[in-house]
Symmetry: C2
Subunit: 211 residues, 2 copies
DNA sequence: TCATCCTTGTTAATATATTGTCAATAAATT
DNA sequence: AATTTATTGACAATATATTAACAAGGATGA
């Protein structure tokens, strides 16, 4: 049983998608089994870390054999909730909102895009990926009707706090926040921030220090 | 002097942009001084961590007073290389490439967007933000002429490895990689991956475990 | 000017994360 | 069927990161 009961650290959780990705590649190449040692070499991590990470969720492997790629792939997908068919909406039909709507991995990972919202009258009625852009006035009704799980926040930081609170109140479970601000919401909604500028600045730091 | 000489850990580096952001907000509100204690409360971290992080780079504060917001802001900006006027290009003029080109923070943080490249003939000649989209054939010449520092990779993963190696060979210092693959380049080029799907899957995990 | 208060920079203590080791055991080989 | 090899899961050892504690010294106010 080991450490399967303990709370799993975010350090481990953030590595799961990467395992999932590599296992998916192996599957594509018809590789049916993999040892932690070989996977570690492909991924550039230690075999020990892989085994320890996986054991947070269960003993998926077999001594002397390794791991079944397909089984492990599905198990991790399951842990990540990728087969739950979460319904998503995008708030903001600007460049970023559209880019995310067209992001192929989005649907490939099992997320269903149900609606896109904006406040600009020019955009209302336009279609992105066969999904009509709706006015924010319709948001509440839509979220309740379609039982939206995840909302993608692709709007400027000025309005984001109010919208985020509104979504949380409507029962949305997760906010994927691209606006350049930290959300502080009165709710137990889960928030995942993607601060693109932060990432670029980190790259800038590395260049600066090296040269 | 303390730990100023030791190699700074990425955990610390990744927090710098956030400090920079909060200090910028303080500046906007005409707050001229701040203690680690008050900043820690605003940011939701420990004061100890702030002081320890900053001391990796120097003693910017003063006992009994705290930190000068403007001074600290500029110092961190400097550490991050934001005043070096790095020249950037975007590879891929699809939705994501355009979104990033139009990203206002991009220029606000001191990065100069010099060119956008694509392979699709339909797009060549079109303009995004007054910048003409050029064909990849012109890439080598352009990078050399304009001394490009950073390239943003906003193309599908199929072609990204080859392009990345090409850019590295041309002397580009940093790659900001949005393609859903890990780059393995023969060069000392710095790579910052932004795997959007990974982030969404992490959010999915959190929702799944909680409910 | 002097005493008190405040806040840093630094070091020590604690907590967390990663890596190494090995007994247990299944698979592969002889 | 017996032996060797491979590999896990668990745990111990190590390394890294975070937090707490505090002496040193400037700021503040009487």
């Amino acid at each position: 049983m080991g450490n399967r009961d303990k709370k799993v650290s975010m350090a481990v959780v953030r590595r799961l998608p990467r395992y999932y990705r590599y296992l998916g590649e192996l599957l594509k190449h018809d590789i049916t089994r993999i040892s932690s040692k070989e996977l570690s070499q492909r991924m550039g991590v230690t075999a020990s870390q892989i085994r320890q990470d996986l054991n947070c969720f269960g003993g998926f492997g077999q001594q002397g054999y390794g791991y079944s790629v397909e089984y492990l792939y599905k198990e991790i997908g399951n842990i990540l909730g990728l087969y739950n068919g979460y319904t998503t909406i995008i708030i903001g039909a600007g460049n970023l909102g559209r880019a995310l709507a067209n992001h192929s991995n989005f649907e490939k990972r099992g997320f269903k895009l149900a609606g896109i919202f904006d406040i600009s009258d020019d955009l209302i009625g336009e279609e992105v990926r066969n999904i009509e852009i709706m006015h924010m006035d319709k948001l509440d009704e839509f979220v309740k009707l379609h039982r939206v799980d995840i909302a993608v926040l692709a709007i400027p930081k000025q309005g984001v706090s109010e919208v985020a609170q509104r979504l949380a109140n409507l029962g949305v479970k997760g906010l994927w926040n691209f606006s350049y601000t930290d959300l502080n919401i009165e709710s137990d909604v889960n928030i995942e921030n993607v601060h693109l500028s932060d990432s670029l600045m980190t790259l800038s730091y590395q260049i600066t220090q090296k040269n």
